[in-house]
Amino acid sequence: MRAYLPAYELQRPASLDEALRLLASAPGEWRPFAGGTDLMVLLEAGKLEHRKFFSIWHLDELRGIEETIEHITLGALTTYTELQSNETMRREFPMLCVAASETGAIAIQNRGTLGGNIANASPAADSPPALIVYGAELELVSARGARWIAYEGFHTAYKQMRMEPDELISRIRLPRASAGDNWKQYYRKVGTRKAQAISKICFAGAARLGDGQIEEARISMGSVAPTVVSCTKTASILRGRRVNKETIGAAQGEMKKEIVPIDDLRSTADYRLQVSLNLLEDFLLSLER
């Protein structure tokens, strides 16, 4: 069923300040509209329940990629295309660039934004696992001010987030120390076909090695629980170990306790669990390569 268009509003505030005033005027009543690649699909399917939106697409305050010695900071409107074409992103944060390059095809990458991917809060989204592994932080702004929070823990339950109704995501910050040369990074999305496919499983892992031992590891997965999962227990038992059969087995045992894959129309729980364990093994073996 197509949507009844007169029922929908889409404002175009002149500035971020004006947008934030609109949000504050009636918290919960207005919602941001970025690249529309999630919202327009819902609209077209007659499933867009919320009616009042304001476009942020034209707000330059929410665009751009900035570099300091410590961080790379991405405007919430950074598109998948912009993300991949940034030299520093490609060098230091390849997992996010791969996630971007595998999100839809070019036309989607030209419109889909990182902020939209986060706020849409799909458990199958492809950038969240990489963001978690990188220790990303989010800047939330409202008419009351701005605050930075850790991205890990932002999603509290299915489609629930630590964001107030008068706030929006303005920037995403990646600490450069969490990536770079001494970290080996591994990202895999398992979908059904190459372009456009929604993930069945998405795995992001990074590890720092010293003397052939894993000094520190971080692992995060998408599509294996109602929200993106940070596999902290699996990662922590890897600390101080060498990659061998025993380590792989121990990590897999831990992962089984940490993820709760589900059956849905894209895949089954059994398949997802098996693929997750295989990806974990492949990640660990990749550290040796």
């Binding site: 476009s55 095809a105 070019i106 036309a107």
Partner: protein
């Protein structure tokens, strides 16, 4: 068309942009899909609807030089933008080299996907005049075709690259 009610009319907006180089004032509901506005208001019916959900690329247009799916763009967001549709690809009677190549290889059958395929190929060759096979595959990955089996489309793009001076 039935007369719009007062309430509906008041919910409409007028958006200013350029379409294929000409100034345009588009009127419609703010959430109307650019796809529908182009086809119904401007009668630019070269832009097709396949899926209506961003999967097939039949509705591809350029906005400010970037290829997008017009089924996913609400009218309100083209305020001030430069829109180019398939109708803006040929110059007068002269087809673009890519369009010629589609004819030569038989890259079109029912033709529904063809405008989008041409737009994707234009986008690809604009950015990369010597694409590899895998560049071509990636460039067309967002476009579905139910008729040709893709090979003739692929050949059309290869052929268009061989024509000297691929230009729009």
């Amino acid at each position: 068309m039935p007369e719009a009610t007062e309430k509906e009319r008041s919910g409409k907006v007028v958006v200013r942009c350029t379409v294929n180089g000409r100034d345009a004032e588009l009127s419609g509901f703010p959430m109307a899909r650019l796809l529908d506005v182009l086809r119904e208001e401007l009668k630019l019916t070269g832009t097709k609807e396949g899926c209506g959900e961003g999967e097939c690329g039949a509705c591809s247009v350029f906005i400010n030089g970037k290829i997008v799916n017009s089924c996913l763009v609400p009218l309100m967001q083209v305020e001030g933008a430069r829109v180019v549709t398939i109708e803006g690809i040929a110059s007068d009677e002269q087809l673009n080299a890519i369009q010629e190549a589609f004819i030569e290889t038989g890259g079109a059958q029912c033709g529904i996907c063809t405008p989008g395929m041409v737009m994707a190929a234009v986008n690809l060759l604009d950015r990369n005049s010597e694409p590899t096979e895998s560049d071509i595959r990636a460039g067309l990955a967002g476009n579905l075709c139910r008729c040709t089996g893709y090979m003739k489309i692929f050949e059309a793009v290869v052929r268009a690259c061989q024509h000297s001076g691929v230009k729009r």
